[in-house]
């Protein structure tokens, strides 16, 4: 026993069940572990000599969700899989491959460090680079020396289950875009420094000599400036020229039209003056203008790329392999090898790899991911099944009809991606305002040009330039998208995915929040609801035995028997478990666990499996989730129920303090709902609501002038969510891909939801500040430029500073704050698995 009892797991930070004797020596001290899974991962990290991970990390690791199964990845070594997913490595070397894996549970830089260091130990690994923001691992390896299956199994054992990424899923495109922008930015920055130094020489020379520097030197400096500025402006300004041309081709004035016009006008008038005449040149202003504009664009691009945290949902929703029937038996193949007409075997607890039709076998199929149907449905020969659905009872032989991009699941993911790319309403509004403003600038510049032509033709170009530059509505156009992108990123870091940024605008106006109970206030974790003993087994003793047995299992249901869940029964378990030693522990995935305690073998798990093994008849009612413990002729039937999510009370208090009415609407029985409402401090509750009933409730509140948000589990509540002004769904893993809600709260507790309610008003405030500032600046600067008070270089500085100010102001939203341990897990854990079997 450790000398000082520590209460949380050293690896994942979850509470350690009292009396659990799982600990591991790391850095010379014994560290407590909460379960066999965490212990396995931690001992692996220690064995690899990477224990410093625990010093580096800033986020806690995720608790392993399932037992590692090295055989799962065997199909990844097949030539067809490698050919499809991996390309020949960049510096072409014989046999080397490079591919992208999507890892789960990536939280912080220490994860990237750990993964890279771990992979470096394998022979033939050239490069392993993990992007912390989206969990993508770029891997450059030699399949002949370390097979991909070994790498994948290692990563899973390390706590980062990998998935193959579909080629062309955007990672490469993002990276190329980032690199291109970086090059533009570097060229513009270096060019700006050079040209500014030449210009400064001119200004200083003029000041020192009391007049102007001698004409020959002046001309030389102008020539050199031109030599630098022209290629720099032509190269680094490409994003603006392209975008301006694209806008003109589509027949409207984009923000980049006056930008490109100003750059080219200044550039070519300066070239003409340098070569053929004398007068003021604007090379320094041009390059500076380009640099600061690029800086703003770069910030927007980074924010946008980092906000796509729900990417590669498709890869996560599908299994790693398929078992294909051949003439002589079956073989494991990669999903890319499947084609229509193949027959695949899908066993209990496995995910269907492709759309198809049941050919033989019977089983229940959980399609919650695809159709939203929460109850598994029986499937018989002739029935269709969809890729991504989970077989929860029985086994099926499926004849494949559609694979990969042709599946229904792929279509859903595409649709969702489409919805995410849609420009938010606020940004479109700002675009329209900016569009009007551009017309105004162009007209005003033309009028000013005519006026100055009459007064002083030499000043036409400087005035027009100043006007075009100073009044560039960049700040106006950047203000909203940068704020929304930064907020999206900040929320994603806290575990909230923003599918529809418009929702952020509506949140501050909310008057009512309707909460669902099951799946929302309660989570996927189970706790003991009741226990029934037979054959003289004591209740406390039964629970203690269960707790001791389940410690060998990493299955989520095991947690029901741990302390920390507020259940009267688990306290007993915690007290009694300390003295129980389990010998010869065994665990069978999808069935249960067994072990010898005090000379008696006990089985704990699915009722049919236990009664089969223990050889006794057990009468188990059909409703609810139950597990059975049996051994030595005695047995206990344990009923499990969903445990409440953490953070629920805080969320409700926060909303009530903000003056928002919280309403509980549930399909559950009156008594249960009333009890939850009382416990949570909710005054208004409605029990026995069907989805239609909930929708009617929302409609009624809306008719009374309310702005209503609905917080639900996103699958059963889909129609209700659609009816609310703001819809927020709780989802984990692959379910994220399916929900149609505006905001998706990931992870197991409700803290991220509270964060979303807290951040949204700040988003609105910052958008307003940005738009107000941009409008005020442009309105004030345009007349000053028109009467010739602002020289072009000052205009470039003013415009740049106003844009930069707006971008920096927006970035304040991106700072993630107060992230709670375990709040933002986006791991794959199909909800049904938790309750299906022990």
């Amino acid at each position: 026993m450790p000398s000082a009892p520590e209460t949380t797991c050293y690896h994942c930070g979850e509470p350690v069940p009292a009396g659990a004797d799982l600990s591991l020596e790391i850095d010379g001290r014994r560290r407590p572990m909460c379960c066999a899974g965490c212990r396995a991962v931690a001992s692996m990290i220690r064995a690899a000599g990477l224990g410093r991970y625990y010093d580096f990390r800033t986020e806690l690791a995720g608790r392993p969700e399932r037992e590692a199964d090295p055989g799962r990845f065997a199909a990844w070594d097949r030539a067809a899989v490698l050919d499809y997913h991996a390309v020949a490595a960049d510096p072409v070397e014989k046999g080397r491959r490079s591919l992208v894996l999507v890892l789960e549970n990536v939280h912080c830089a220490a994860c990237a460090w750990l993964v890279r260091r771990y992979l470096e130990r394998f022979a033939g690994i050239g490069e392993a680079r993990l992007d912390v923001s989206d969990g993508r691992l770029r891997l450059d390896f030699d399949p002949a020396r370390t097979p991909l299956s070994t790498i994948a199994a290692g990563l899973e054992a390390l706590g980062y289950p990998p998935h193959l990424d579909a080629p062309g899923s955007g990672a490469e495109r993002d990276r190329n875009e980032r690199r291109r922008m970086l090059k533009y930015l570097i060229v513009a920055a270096l060019g700006m420094m050079q040209v500014m130094s030449y210009a400064l020489a001119g200004y200083l020379g003029a000041a020192a000599a009391g007049g102007s520097m001698d004409p020959e030197t002046g001309h030389f400096f102008r020539l050199v400036s031109m030599l630098v500025a022209v290629p720099v402006a032509l190269y680094a300004g490409q994003p603006f020229y392209r975008s301006a041309l694209a806008h003109l081709a589509r027949g409207h004035l984009g923000i980049d039209v006056p930008v490109a016009a100003a750059i080219l006008l200044a550039l070519f008038s300066s070239v003409a003056l340098t070569l053929f005449g004398d007068g003021e040149v604007y090379f320094d202003s041009v390059v500076m203008f380009i640099f600061f504009l690029l800086l703003g664009r770069f910030a927007v691009m980074l924010a946008r790329q980092q906000s796509g945290a729900a990417q590669s949902a498709l890869a996560r929703a599908l299994p790693a392999r398929a078992r294909r029937l051949t003439a002589s038996g079956s073989e494991d193949v990669g999903l890319v090898e499947l084609s229509a007409g193949d027959r695949v075997l899908v066993a209990d607890g496995e995910v269907v790899p492709a759309d198809g039709e049941v050919e033989s076998g019977n089983g229940r199929v959980d399609e919650a991911l695809i159709s939203g149907e929460s109850e598994p449905r029986a499937r018989a020969p002739g029935d269709p099944v969809l890729a991504g659905s989970l077989v929860t009872g029985g086994g099926l032989t499926v004849r494949v009809t559609a694979t990969g991009r042709a599946t229904v699941l792929s279509g859903i993911v595409d649709l969702l991606g489409e919805a995410r790319r849609r420009r938010p309403r606020l940004a479109r509004l700002a675009d329209r305002v900016a569009g009007g403003f551009i017309v105004l600038i162009l007209v005003a510049s033309a009028i000013a040009a005519l006026a100055w032509w009459q007064i002083d033709p030499a000043r036409v170009i400087p005035v027009v330039l100043s006007m075009l530059v100073v009044a560039c509505p960049c700040a106006l156009a950047l203000g909203t998208p940068t704020a929304l992108a930064a907020a999206t990123r900040g929320l994603a870091a806290d575990g909230v995915l923003t599918a529809n940024p418009d929702a952020l605008e509506a949140v501050p106006r909310l008057t009512h929040v309707v909460l669902d109970k099951t799946g929302t206030l309660t989570g996927p974790a189970m706790r003991i609801a009741g226990i029934e003993v037979h054959g003289g087994l004591g209740r406390d003793r039964a629970i203690a035995i269960c707790a001791a047995l389940e410690r060998v299992s990493t299955h989520p249901i095991a947690r029901a028997f741990e302390a920390g869940h507020e259940s009267e029964h688990s306290d007993t378990a915690a007290g009694a478990v300390a003295g129980i030693a389990v010998q010869q522990p065994e665990s069978l995935a999808g069935a249960g666990v067994s072990g010898v305690i005090d000379g008696v073998r006990y089985w704990l798990g699915r009722p049919d499996w236990v009664s089969d093994r223990a050889g006794i008849d057990i009468d188990v009612p059909e409703n609810g989730t139950r597990v059975v413990l049996a051994g030595g002729g005695r047995c206990a039937v344990i009923r499990l129920e969903a445990a409440p999510r953490r953070g629920g009370r805080e969320l409700i208090e926060q909303l009530q303090n903000a003056g928002v009415e919280v309403v509980l609407a549930s399909g559950d029985r009156e008594a249960a709902v009333a009890e939850t409402a009382r416990g949570m401090g909710i005054a208004e509750y409605h029990a026995g609501c069907s989805p239609d009933g909930k929708l009617a409730l929302i409609r009624r509140l809306q008719r009374a002038g309310g702005v209503v948000a609905m917080l639900g589990d996103g699958i059963n509540d889909a129609p209700v969510l659609a009816g609310a002004d703001v819809s927020i769904a709780l989802a984990e893993g692959a379910a994220i891909a399916r929900t149609q809600a505006d905001l998706v709260v990931t992870g197991r507790d409700l803290h991220p939801a509270a964060r979303a309610f807290e951040l949204a008003p700040r988003v609105r405030r910052i958008v307003r500040q940005n738009l107000g500032w941009a409008l005020a600046y442009n309105a004030a600067a345009l007349p000053l430029a028109a009467i010739g008070l602002i020289p072009p270089w000052a205009a470039a500085i003013g415009m740049s500073l106003s844009s930069l100010g707006v971008v920096l102001n927006a970035r304040r939203l991106g700072r993630a704050r107060g992230r709670t341990p375990g709040a933002a897990r986006t791991g794959f854990s199909p909800a049904p698995e938790a309750g299906a079997s022990a």
């Binding site: 980032r178 570097i186 050199v224």
Partner: protein, 61 residues
């Protein structure tokens, strides 16, 4: 002032080299991972040298 006629073209050459060096760095993924290299210096692994040597030998063999 004759010096500037040599020094300024020289600065242009340096500018070209600087841009080339940056492009090289971008192409070789130097800007792709800005998170983990910061942790590497904290890792006072005494076997670091040995590890790399073994790796090198492995790669050759």
């Amino acid at each position: 002032m004759k010096a500037i006629y040599i020094l300024i073209p020289l600065s242009l050459v340096l500018l070209g080299i600087a841009i080339w060096a940056f492009f090289w760095a971008v192409r070789n993924d130097q800007f792709d991972d800005l998170d983990t290299p910061a942790l590497d210096i904290l890792d006072d692994d005494e076997n670091e040298h040995e590890r790399r040597e073994t790796q090198k030998r492995e790669q050759i063999s």
